[in-house]
């Protein structure tokens, strides 16, 4: 099913508030069998991050080297295109993390 553009619009203020914030990787995995809209990105790592303000977040890790896949790795929240949309869909941008 398509993601509603209204839903994207409603979420964007939460997304914007997180861009640039930093934290540390708590746990990581590599997804090798993805859901449909993520198939062209697999395999990709997903991390649970403890942000510097103590809040926990979850997201894809991007621009990484193998040695970045460790608990304690410092990361920063960045805005990225999320997944592959259908031709009629709004393009979906969301938070991912990159090692710093």
């Amino acid at each position: 099913m398509r993601t509603s553009p209204v839903k994207l619009w409603r979420r964007q203020k939460d997304t914007i508030a997180v861009i640039g914030k930093t934290g540390k990787i708590l746990l990581w995995t590599i997804i090798r069998v993805p859901a449909k809209t993520f198939t062209d990105q697999a395999p990709y790592p997903v991390v649970i991050v403890k942000m510097d303000d103590g809040k926990k977040m979850v997201g894809q890790l991007v621009d990484f080297a193998k040695e970045n896949l460790i608990t304690g790795q410092k990361v920063q929240a960045v805005l990225r295109r999320l997944k592959t949309e259908g031709q009629e869909d709004a393009i979906y941008y969301h938070i991912k993390f990159r090692p710093i």
């Binding site: 995995t29 997804i31 449909k36 649970i48 894809q60």
Partner: protein, 408 residues
């Protein structure tokens, strides 16, 4: 009927007053049935439902007209089957146009359906009801199934590209790091469950596997490999339960506790990644209601959607000490013919199969057979008390049932 709408002032008093009250359950299981679990391409959801329901009715010695209501546990009929009035569809197959309800709670849909059915009996609304768990999954491709199952997760987890195996993979990482457990030790869970499945003619997989087989299977989400994961399955299971003391059963099995608890939808915000608080809460309430200790359990059906799930479950249920669950399973402490509390004699989700909505009811079917002494080659000798552990999502909801036999 006297049902009031509580004003604010009375709402404060209400829950406190009712907290200490303990209902005494007297609900008998009259009959059970389950279809074969597996890739049943030639069998439709209707046919699966019909087979399970007519089997359970036959086993109870009841006619459809003696059933007061139908409860259907199902997760995916809306998303995969494009059917969101499932209970009305299924009741056509029952042969009596009774009130029918579809209950959904991800992989715990079956357990939740039973819990709701029991509540309706305890409330005195119905006396004899049929509970069906049903799922048809293999009509669809792997990425469609992966997407549909991830609908049980939180938005944030889905947007991060996490899959259901991915969420449990994160738990496995946390568990392995915290307790210094190897992938090989976790693999022993699947090995044990395939061994049990080899004695179950209804199981999707009846083949024995080794730790090496698990280790060599392709990775799904590190550190979980294909053989750490339960399969995609079709199947249906049904039970007929009653509160009517006039209906006699030759070999009665009684449900002595039925508890449900919830936790946050997503895993990532939780305090602990190595324990499911919904399971801990529900089982503690259930033990209290049944007035038993974890060690009184002889046989349990565990929700092993992944190998890590069973390791964490035996700890949360109080069968193993914290951090020792995987090791205990690997040491055979829950294995048929040698363990003390036998876990997943059916083969569990891993080997028996996991048609998600059916699983919670299949667990009841298995424990009922075990307590009646009719489980054949996989019989747990002298089993008197059994437990079912049914979990939805990544532990967002858990349903625990405790059953007592009278055969011995």
């Amino acid at each position: 009927m006297r049902i009031g709408i509580l004003s604010e002032a009375r709402a404060v008093r209400g829950p406190e007053r009712s907290r200490g009250r303990m209902y005494s359950m007297k609900i008998n299981i009259l009959g059970t049935a389950t279809t074969k679990f597996g890739e049943l391409w030639d069998i439709s959801p209707r046919e699966l439902a019909r087979e399970a329901m007519s089997g359970a009715l036959r086993a109870s010695g009841l006619r459809p007209s003696q059933i007061d209501a139908l409860f259907v546990g199902n997760m995916l009929s809306g998303i995969l089957g494009n059917q969101t009035n499932l209970a009305s569809l299924i009741v056509e197959e029952l042969g009596a146009q009774v009130p029918a309800f579809r209950i959904e709670g991800a992989c715990a849909s079956g357990g939740l359906a039973l819990h709701n059915a029991i509540n309706s009996l305890n409330a005195g609304k119905y006396k004899t009801v049929l509970v069906l768990g049903l799922e048809k999954m293999t009509d669809h491709s792997q990425d469609e199934i992966t997407s549909a199952l991830s609908a049980a997760g939180s938005d944030e987890e889905r947007m991060s590209g996490l899959t259901f195996p991915g969420i449990y993979a994160l738990m496995a990482k946390a568990y392995m790091q915290a307790y210094n457990v190897s992938e090989e030790t976790l693999a022993a869970v699947s090995v044990k469950n395939h061994y049990h499945g080899s004695f179950n003619p209804k199981a999707q997989f009846q083949s024995i596997i080794t730790v090496g087989d698990v280790m060599r299977s392709p990775k799904v989400a590190d550190p979980l490999k294909l053989l750490d994961c339960s399969p995609v399955s079709d199947g249906a299971s049904a039970v007929v339960i009653t509160s009517d003391i006039l209906i006699k059963s030759k070999n009665p099995v009684t449900i002595i506790a039925s508890e449900v608890a919830t936790d946050t939808l997503g895993l990532y915000t939780r305090k602990s990644f190595t324990s499911l608080s919904a399971v801990v809460t529900a089982c503690q309430k259930a033990y209290q209601a049944a007035k038993i200790k974890p060690t009184d359990i002889d046989v349990a059906e565990i929700h092993d959607c992944f190998s890590i799930s069973e390791a964490i479950a035996v700890e949360d249920l109080g069968f193993s000490k914290k951090g020792e669950g995987a090791k205990d399973i690997a040491d055979g402490k829950t294995t048929l013919f040698k363990g003390k509390i036998i876990c997943n004699p059916s083969g569990g989700l891993k080997a028996c199969g996991h048609p998600v909505g059916a699983t919670g009811i299949k667990q009841i079917v298995e424990i009922t057979e075990q307590l009646r002494g009719t489980a054949g080659r996989r019989q747990v000798k002298g089993a008197k008390i059994g437990l079912t552990h049914n979990v939805g999502g990544s532990g967002a909801v858990a349903a625990i049932h405790i059953l007592k036999g009278s055969a011995i």
